[in-house]
């Protein structure tokens, strides 16, 4: 044992040094891919960066001009509004559906519930862009799968224009998104339900509480913390929806489905190729989500303490 200790004493780094060495790969990667770009994005948002400047490698400062331009751009404001509507619809729908489906897959004695539990994670694995393209095929006016199903069931007599109507196109986009992201919420609620002591329900039943009363006064309060976590996580992710928009509507019809990330992407990487504007608009989005993240971290820490 003394020999081993001696060997260790010579060859081994102190805990402090080991901590630094073991974190070097992570720190280097995070510095290059997260920390530096976040700072650089702020820099770019105050400068004129178009293909001409990129070629010359010099970015003239424009002060707040990029921010002034996006905040007075009706399309940017519309994109923000659409993002808010999209987020509100998807998050509320997902919370409600997640509570219902989590109860359903928790029924161990029903064999169809076991099938649902096995399949529930499937949409999580589907690439978002493939999901978008598949739904684009389903929504298609002439050849789409949804209209075929409804025709075969005798529910419609002429084809439905699912995504061609500017008033409903944004709502049509929420369904594919909910399909893909619902598993996450269901899993979290399901896990939380497993953690509730069944004796609570038995005691309440003995006291004559009906199913709704038990849900209202036992389930809901005990689920509240996980519902808040889902609310914040899903809100901040729905804010950055992109793939389904690209695949299904490309912002159309007209400007009806422009969302925040679509705006930043189009401004930066399609005509007018204005990276300064793209960076400024992305920064506004990041600040909104940053505020949500702060709320999330605060909630998590309060729960741990």
């Amino acid at each position: 044992m003394p020999a081993a200790a001696k060997r260790r004493g010579r060859a081994e780094l102190s805990a402090a040094k080991l901590g630094v060495v073991m974190n070097l790969p992570t720190l280097a990667t995070l510095a290059l891919v997260l920390a530096y770009p976040i700072g650089y994005a702020a820099y770019l948002s105050f400068h004129k960066v178009t293909p001409a400047e990129l070629r010359r490698g010099v970015f003239p400062s424009v002060g707040l001009a990029n921010y002034e331009r996006i905040l007075s751009d009706p399309l940017f404001l519309l994109a923000l509004k659409n993002t808010l509507v999209f987020t509100a619809v998807t998050v509320v729908a997902e919370l409600a559906l997640a509570i219902a489906i989590a109860h359903l897959i928790g029924q161990r004695q029903v064999w169809t519930s076991r099938v649902t539990r096995f399949l529930i994670l499937l949409p999580y694995a589907v690439p978002p862009i493939a999901n978008g393209l598949i739904w684009s095929f389903m929504y298609n006016f002439d050849f789409g799968f949804l209209n075929r199903l409804l025709f075969s069931a005798g529910l419609i007599s002429k084809p439905v224009n699912w995504i061609g109507d500017p008033n409903t196109a944004l709502l049509a986009l929420t369904v594919p998104y909910i399909w893909r992201t619902l598993p996450f919420a269901v899993l979290l609620v399901h896990a939380a339900l497993q953690g509730i002591n069944p004796e609570l329900y038995e005691a309440a039943s003995v006291d004559g509480a009906g199913a709704f009363t038990r849900f209202r006064h036992i389930t809901l309060p005990l689920l509240a913390p996980i519902l808040v976590v889902i609310l914040v996580l899903r809100t901040s992710f729905a804010f950055v929806v992109f793939e389904e928009v690209l695949a299904i509507t490309q912002g159309g019809p007209g400007d009806a489905t422009w969302v925040a990330v679509w705006y930043s992407y189009k401004r930066s990487f399609a005509p007018p190729f204005d990276i300064g504007i793209g960076a400024a608009s992305a920064y506004v989005l990041a600040l909104i989500i940053g505020a949500l993240a702060l709320a999330y971290v605060t909630i998590i820490y309060r729960r741990i303490e």
């Binding site: 402090a16 499937l122 793209g278 920064y283």
Partner: protein, 294 residues
């Protein structure tokens, strides 16, 4: 007894509705992929085609060389369809490398968070929780400018570096709490036997944490395989595209090549869907751990 039966039937019915919703897009894509454009256009009201064919897959996997019966007349085939084999290779290389890199870097950092309680290391944990919220687009616009200057556009390495950076914080969040549950005594026993602190991490903590490593690895592979925005912005030459980028580049061809596109979507979703069904339990564990612990 009667009421019991009614409840049970209602539960079966509810399950059938959910299962139908879960499988609907996959059924649509499969039916679309297994028929020709001609059968699709023959009737706009029937669900099932008059005849089935595997020709869409034949055309894609042969890079357009083998024109199946349904494409013999076609004079035009989107260029990126012909290069889809590059995309399959790129996606596989990128997803595998990112998984290995994040597992290695992530476990090193997570161990320091779990065991070497230094104050700055704890800050790393807090930052990791926060980093998940950074929208990819905010970082990708400046990374495009930087990688352009570094010559990292149109290469697998640029995408690998960016994806690794995005997925690392999640690893610290998942792995650190798990490493902390490995009994300290086991490591100390190894150290008494002559292991260094790092050796004890490699030989004791890591092997005992395989479930957490499997959870994180599976999630990283799926996210890396599925990601669109990063390779879309960094790589625009067909030789360097990943499968999601190829799909995005073909969006405007959908209306001409419905059936071909559905076949491509099925090829793109097959690996990650299979992985999730095989490693279901680990993915579930990882997702809940990532959301709960901070």
């Amino acid at each position: 007894m009667r009421q019991f039966l009614v409840t049970r039937l209602a539960l079966h019915a509810a399950n059938l509705v959910v299962i139908a919703f879960l499988l609907l897009p996959l059924a649509a894509a499969t039916i679309g992929a297994l028929q020709s454009a001609k059968s699709l256009q023959a009737s706009t009201r029937s669900v099932l085609p008059p005849e089935w064919t595997l020709d869409n897959f034949r055309v894609i996997l042969s890079g357009g060389a083998q024109k199946g019966a349904i494409f013999e007349q076609a004079t035009y085939l989107p260029d990126n369809v012909k290069k889809i084999r590059y995309a399959l290779t790129n996606s596989a290389i990128i997803a595998t490398t990112v998984t290995l890199l994040t597992l290695a870097f992530g476990s090193l950092s997570a161990y320091t968070v779990a065991r070497l309680r230094r104050r700055w290391v704890m800050w790393l944990m807090n930052l990791s929780v926060f980093a998940r919220f950074v929208p990819v687009i905010v970082v990708m616009i400046p990374l495009y400018v930087t990688f352009r200057q570094l010559g990292l556009l149109n290469s697998v390495w640029g995408v690998i570096i960016a994806l690794t950076g995005f997925l690392l914080p999640y690893g610290v969040v998942i792995l650190a709490p798990y490493f902390a549950t490995v009994p300290r005594e086991l490591e100390e026993a190894a150290r008494i036997d002559g292991c260094s602190r790092f050796g004890a991490f490699l030989r004791v903590t890591l092997p005992l944490s395989t479930p957490a490593l499997a959870s994180y690895g599976a999630i990283v592979f799926i996210v890396a395989w599925n990601d669109l925005l990063i390779p879309l912005i960094l790589n625009n030459r067909a030789e360097f595209m990943t499968l999601p980028v190829v799909i995005a580049s073909l969006v405007s061809d959908l209306f001409v090549f419905h059936n071909l596109m559905m076949a491509i979507c099925l090829i793109a979703l097959a690996p990650s869907v299979l992985l999730v069904l095989l490693l279901r339990r680990f993915v579930v564990e990882g997702l809940s751990a990532g959301a709960m612990k901070g």
